[in-house]
Symmetry: C2
Subunit: 217 residues, 2 copies
């Protein structure tokens, strides 16, 4: 019975995700779901991405956390439309939470929607939110073994980021192992290195711009 | 119905956890459940703790990961009894998985059991495994806002560790905010700073020894 209930939850989630996807597509919005462990740098990446694209791209952000409004407050300095979703004890965002958040965003004024998921490398992978792409984020300080230990994210991601490359001189990180493990699981996924903290974002912002309509990016 | 199923899962888990706890107590084993995000340094802490206590304490380790045998292989260099549990898509260990692992450990030869949970700051908090203490682990590279954003771990932990203090000079980390947020949630939980990587473990290993029978520690 437990499996049946989980299947029903996922089926319902997929239905709501389809509605989100249709609404986003109709409004011409490209949407990413940003996944990574706690403290890998998701919020800083969102801040710096908003700042880097602000000249030409209208961005909205939905940010998930168990508790606090802090991430939304941080991001609001760089983005006009930010909605915080508090999940309580929930370890991931679900499509209905995104749907509720979308009702508070004027999608007609948006080119790019960034959904920052709860810090967790496991369960967010399994829940479709209606996004165009799941973006998986690792960081050098977490160690090079995370792709192998969290394989479902590597399999599901449209693109992977390796953040905090500025800290490479200070941490043990086996770069060849990191890439070999990813390639073993997913031979084609692009992997981009960045440092959100220092603002080294170039390949990432270029990747994003390429996904936006020509008149925007 | 969904809530009912979740309640049943937790109730069954608690029953099995009670059986684990009775077995551990009967065998004179002190057990900790180590919780922290991916890459906060749990496995390195376990390795170095085993090495530091090896002179006088018999240790067994149960280590949870979605996939791979890597952590068990690492820890086996410092500890004779190590069992890896692969959770597949499961984001936390449950009591029945620990029970199965315990059947492969000779508890009569063990003083201290370390259970390294799946890297996740959310769901492992809610599942009793039969441990004496849940140990919550943060790291400086994750940023100082993690206690406030993952409050249930702070509320449930017997003790909190702040790892990677050797990296403080290289990362933005608001130490007063970190402690203020913890104290706001849990005024009494001990918080110990350490660096598993450099082997700076002293207050932590002392805390552990104090929990072991006098003839051992």
């Amino acid at each position: 019975m437990q499996v049946q209930v989980i299947e029903n939850v996922l089926k319902l989630n997929d239905e709501v995700a389809r509605m989100n996807r249709a609404d986003l597509q109709n409004a011409g919005v490209y949407a990413i779901d940003l996944l990574g462990g706690p403290g890998c740098g998701k919020t800083t990446l969102v801040e710096k991405t908003c700042a880097a694209l602000a000249d030409s791209v209208d961005i909205a952000v939905i940010v998930g956390d168990l508790a606090t409004q802090r991430d939304a407050d941080r991001i609001a300095r760089f983005c006009r439309q930010v909605v915080q979703v508090n999940t309580g004890k929930g370890c991931h965002l679900e499509a209905h939470q995104v749907r509720q958040a979308l009702s508070r965003i004027n999608l007609r004024d948006v080119d790019l929607l960034i959904i920052e998921n709860v810090g967790n490398l496991v369960c967010p992978v399994g829940f479709d939110l209606g996004q165009n792409a799941k973006v998986g984020m690792f960081s050098t300080t977490e160690g090079a073994d995370k792709p192998a230990k969290y394989p479902y994210l590597v399999l599901a991601a449209e693109i992977l980021l390796l953040n905090k490359i500025d800290l490479l001189p200070h941490v043990p990180f086996d770069t060849p192992q990191f890439y070999a493990d990813i390639r073993h699981l997913n031979p084609t996924v692009p992997v981009l290195e960045c440092s959100a903290h220092t603002g080294t974002l170039e390949p990432w912002t270029r990747w994003l711009r390429q996904r936006l309509p020509a008149h925007v990016a």
